[in-house]
């Protein structure tokens, strides 16, 4: 991310007018997680783009109540939380497209508006059982 200053400027601009507070809840562990420190650095950078973004960090081993509350299975994990936790999670260091997705989810959570069509909203409103969606992606 440090090698792409233009990208950082775009992300900063996107977050500069964030509609509401968003919390980035980061889960890491002390040992056996090479990507945890880089993830914290990325999160800190994203949080620096808006006063409305706050960061909380918990340890996978030590903070078991938080791990359970957020349903985290592995680290590094980022929960993007607005007024309520709608269940948005990112696993791994957010880079490239994944970083853009993270920023987009921050904007989404702050706005409270999914941006989905009325048809989509109508279908989703009828959901009566848990649906867990996992999307596998790469940075490029």
């Amino acid at each position: 991310m440090g090698a792409d200053p233009e990208g950082s400027v775009n992300l900063e601009a996107a977050l500069s007018s964030l509609a509401a507070p968003v919390k980035l809840v980061l889960f890491t562990q002390t040992f056996g997680c090479d990507t945890c420190v880089p993830t914290r650095q990325v999160i800190d950078r994203v949080a620096s783009f808006s006063e409305k973004i706050s960061v909380e960090e918990y340890n996978l081993v030590l903070d078991k109540d938080k791990v359970k509350a957020y349903g985290v299975l592995r680290v590094p994990a980022i929960a993007v939380v607005g007024q309520v936790d709608v269940g948005i999670r990112f696993y791994g260091v957010p880079e490239g497209h994944e970083l853009i997705s993270l920023v987009e989810s921050v904007l989404l959570v702050a706005s409270g508006n999914s941006g989905l069509s009325e048809d989509s909203q109508r279908l989703i409103a009828s959901v009566d059982h848990p649906i867990d969606v996992q999307v596998f992606a790469t940075p490029t």
Partner: protein, 62 residues
């Protein structure tokens, strides 16, 4: 979709960093979406089709 329903949770997984999950879900190309460990959607799909497939209303195109 997670925003629209408290029943729906959404996770983005950096495939390169979790080879065990890539193997578990047989991810050979991205994006790949897995729903409740059962439904698999390959590639980027338009909104209407994606929502229907995630909800199990429509079968994903193989």
């Amino acid at each position: 979709m997670a925003l629209e329903s408290s029943q729906i949770t959404a996770s983005a997984i950096a495939a390169v960093q979790y080879p065990d999950l890539v193997q578990k879900y047989r991810v050979s190309g991205v994006p790949k979406t897995v729903v409740n460990d059962k439904i698999e959607i390959l590639g980027a799909v338009p909104e209407a089709a994606f929502v229907s497939q995630v909800l199990g209303i429509q079968e994903p195109v193989v």
